[in-house]
């Protein structure tokens, strides 16, 4: 089997006689047996630590959860700066969690939560911060400050939590460069290894914002433009 790996500006091909291995096992095989300078990130080998997301033939996967096919082209995640080979700098990516103020405020409220209410954000809290959705999101090609899918899912996780007593700071934080900058193109959904649908969560945040009296700035400006354009 042949796989191609993007390494800096060049693409390196590896001929391998391995069957039924995950991509991560294959990368380890290359590193420990063929070329020790190949750089990639890994951790748990079981799809839970979010270290090993890469792109295969233009689609984001976890290396530990993907079995390579002959001719696959492996490259690092998009948008984040490449540190070396398949390793990207996630610090600048993870900062969106902070910008979105995606956290809970400690509460002493009665913490009885029905099974139904617990299900509301069960899936959102499965997120492993692997960055797959970030790399898949086309908005970043034009708008590098977009808060983006994983951070907005995280924001919705807390906003939708019945235990939260005050969600205004999070809702307010995602208004600018946030929920309205998403084009709802759905690219983030199929790449999520946990089956989360950030697009859905962004729609939910928009609805919640509307209920709380926030306005879609795009809608407001187009409406304003329309209004001022009327000359009778």
């Amino acid at each position: 089997m042949k796989i191609d790996i993007k390494r800096d500006v060049q693409t390196v091909s590896y001929e391998l006689a391995c069957e039924d291995l995950t991509l991560l096992e294959l990368l380890n095989h290359i590193k420990t047996g063929i070329d020790s300078s190949l750089s990639f990130s890994s951790g748990c080998r079981s799809g839970i630590c979010g270290s090993c997301a890469v792109r295969v033939n233009g689609k984001e996967v976890l290396a530990c959860a993907y079995k390579p096919q002959d001719g696959d082209f492996i490259e690092p995640l998009r948008y984040a700066s490449v540190l070396r080979d398949l390793v990207v700098d996630m610090d600048k990516v993870l900062v969106f969690n902070k910008i979105a103020k995606a956290w809970g405020l400690p509460t002493s409220k009665n913490l009885n939560v029905s099974q139904k209410d617990a299900e509301i954000n069960e899936l959102q809290s499965d997120c492993i911060l692997c960055g797959a959705c970030y790399s898949a999101c086309p908005v970043y090609t034009v708008n590098p400050e977009f808060i983006g899918p994983f951070a907005l899912t995280r924001a919705w996780k807390y906003v939708s939590d019945v235990r939260e007593t005050d969600i205004t700071q999070t809702i307010s934080a995602v208004q600018t460069k946030g929920i309205y900058d998403c084009t709802l193109c759905n690219e983030c959904v199929p790449v999520c290894p946990q089956g989360i649908a950030p697009k859905q969560d962004i729609v939910m945040l928009r609805n919640k914002s509307g209920v709380m009296g926030y306005m879609d700035p795009n809608f407001a400006s187009s409406f304003g433009g329309f209004d001022s354009g009327l000359i009778f």
Partner: protein, 535 residues
């Protein structure tokens, strides 16, 4: 200079940071990876607290179960603290948004794990560790705690017996950095990766903090106690959570017959499986009777991983398993305030030995330990930092740095006559076979001899990759050296402990011996390792 510097950003590290920050001091966290990528995210089963949400339970029962599993070498006072503060710890997690699974009544759901007299482990599907870790990470963001990623711990800086900071390799740049602090908290995790591919752990569980602490004179304890999880996947060692048995899964031998009590403590179940594999060649776990709906809702990870790594669907098929290294009870010896024998140096989580697990840890107690003792370390380090007026240590530290940079250059310029990757696998096999589930004098002596020759070969090993930037081969070599140092301790301790106790099982001495109801202490005398039994 920061007041409290935390090394490691798993559960214990983040709790310690939050707790120190709450005490009003400045805090910085360094991690060799990223905050949400630590071993904590792999914990599945749950976090123990005697809430009694499902059936009657009490702190006393939790205490008794933990004490029994510890086999006489735990600190009763610390177990008491762990169990009584457990309830408040879980409530705290609940208050900061931890998405626990719920009972029909809307309370935190609990399930029974091995060795527990009641359903005590609070859980979030089989994502308990993941969700606790991410909730803590979000709280660190909320509290504006500085977290620096990709910093590998090289050395602790100690002056006149007092810790003054650390020296780390910035993996991204390849530069050596100094971070000075009034107090340092080590929360760097365990050392199960000595067993390599026969371990459930992330590739980073290489005991870096424990090895670094030992190098500067900290005492370690009970290093010979390594817990084997009964059910790792046969090919990949990936964990099938204890909850699979807790919820009613069966262990079957080759003939498809049950051969042991699935809910006995982990050491007993692991031994039974190991013996069965030796005898008949195969053991599987059967959860088919739990039903598709139950499995996909309560054990989603298990299901996914069994399909990926073993090509079997647990809803319809038996899953092949083997016992694998899972948790290391030993670690940096700490007092009741979580401080080591070096002033200002604290330790919490799996890298520390707070003596609550003794010879064998109960499932659900390690996540709890992170919260209870992470908090203790953070609080006490903050208190000491406030009292400590020490400020000018820059001069000494600079000299130290030059030495380290030199050492790194040496590594990269070294010849590579012996491949350390091969040796790493060899050591792992050696350990699984001879320092694993069943030990005896002959096996242990073989392993010790192997280690002596391995140590002599280290100068012949090195890093072939000479690029300074993001050199993972260099990081892995540094980890390997830590592993080798700790390996010698495990074997020496296991040889001296001429009895069987908890996870340490000697076939040549299969019963517990009162004379050994002591902790094994490890310390450095010059360059020599000293191992001593102490009460």
């Amino acid at each position: 200079m920061v007041d409290v510097l935390v090394i490691g950003a798993g559960g214990a590290g983040l709790v310690a940071a939050l707790s120190a920050k709450e005490s009003g001091v400045s805090v910085k966290v360094l991690t060799k990876s990223y905050p949400t990528r630590s071993q904590t995210c792999m914990a599945q089963g749950g976090i123990n607290a005697a809430l009694g949400n499902v059936s009657e339970d009490s702190v006393k029962s939790h205490y008794e179960n933990t004490l029994k599993s510890a086999h006489g070498i735990a600190n009763k006072k610390m177990i008491e603290k762990l169990c009584s503060e457990g309830i408040e710890a879980v409530k705290w997690l609940d208050s900061i948004g931890m998405p626990f699974s719920r009972t029909k009544e809307g309370n935190i759901a609990q399930r029974r794990l091995g060795g527990a007299s009641a359903p005590r482990a609070c859980y979030a599907q089989d994502y308990t560790g993941l969700k606790i870790l991410h909730t803590l990470y979000d709280q660190c963001n909320a509290n504006d705690i500085e977290m620096l990623s990709e910093r590998f711990l090289l050395e602790l800086l100690v002056e006149n017996g007092v810790v003054i900071g650390v020296e780390v390799l910035n993996i991204k740049t390849g530069e050596v950095e100094q971070h000075l602090a009034k107090c340092v908290i080590l929360a760097t995790g365990g050392y199960s990766r000595i067993y390599g591919k026969n371990s459930t752990n992330t590739v980073g569980s290489t005991g870096d903090g424990i090895a670094a602490a030992y190098r500067v004179g900290a005492s370690l304890s009970d290093m010979e106690f390594v817990q084997f999880h009964p059910t790792g996947l046969k090919n990949s060692s990936i964990l099938i959570s204890e909850s699979a048995r807790g919820e009613g899964g069966y262990l079957l031998n080759k003939e498809g017959k049950r051969f042991t009590d699935e809910l006995a403590p982990r050491d007993k179940v692991s031994r039974a499986i190991y013996e069965e594999i030796e005898k008949s060649g195969e053991v599987t776990i059967d959860i088919r009777h739990l039903g598709k709906e139950f499995i996909s809702h309560n054990l989603p990870q298990e299901c996914k991983l069994a399909k990926l790594y073993e090509n079997v669907d647990p809803v319809f098929e038996l899953v092949p398993i083997k016992p694998v290294a899972h948790y290391t009870m030993g670690g940096i010896d700490v007092d009741e305030a979580a401080q080591t024998n070096i002033q200002g140096l604290f330790a919490a989580g799996e890298c520390a030995n707070q003596k609550v697990h003794g010879a064998n840890r109960l499932g659900g107690n390690s996540l709890l330990e992170l919260i209870v003792f992470g908090r203790e370390a953070g609080k006490n380090a903050a208190k000491l930092a406030k009292e400590n007026l020490l400020t000018s240590t820059e001069h000494f530290a600079c000299k130290q740095s030059e030495r380290e940079t030199y050492a790194l250059d040496l590594l990269i310029r070294s010849t590579c006559k012996v491949d350390f990757y091969k040796k790493r696998d060899e050591l792992a096999e050696q350990f699984y076979k001879n320092v694993g589930i069943k030990r005896d004098k002959v096996k242990l002596s073989t392993a010790l001899e192997y280690l002596q020759s391995l140590k002599e070969e280290i100068p012949l090993m090195g890093v072939r990759d000479t690029n300074k930037l993001y050199n993972t081969e260099l990081v892995e070599f540094l980890e390997f050296k830590n592993i080798v140092a700790l390996a010698e301790m495990i074997v020496s301790g296991a040889l001296q402990r001429e009895e069987s106790r908890g996870s340490h099982y000697r076939e040549d001495m299969p019963s517990e011996n009162k004379a050994f109801e002591k902790n094994t202490i490890y310390y450095k005398n010059g360059e020599k390792l000293c191992v001593q039994l102490m009460r």
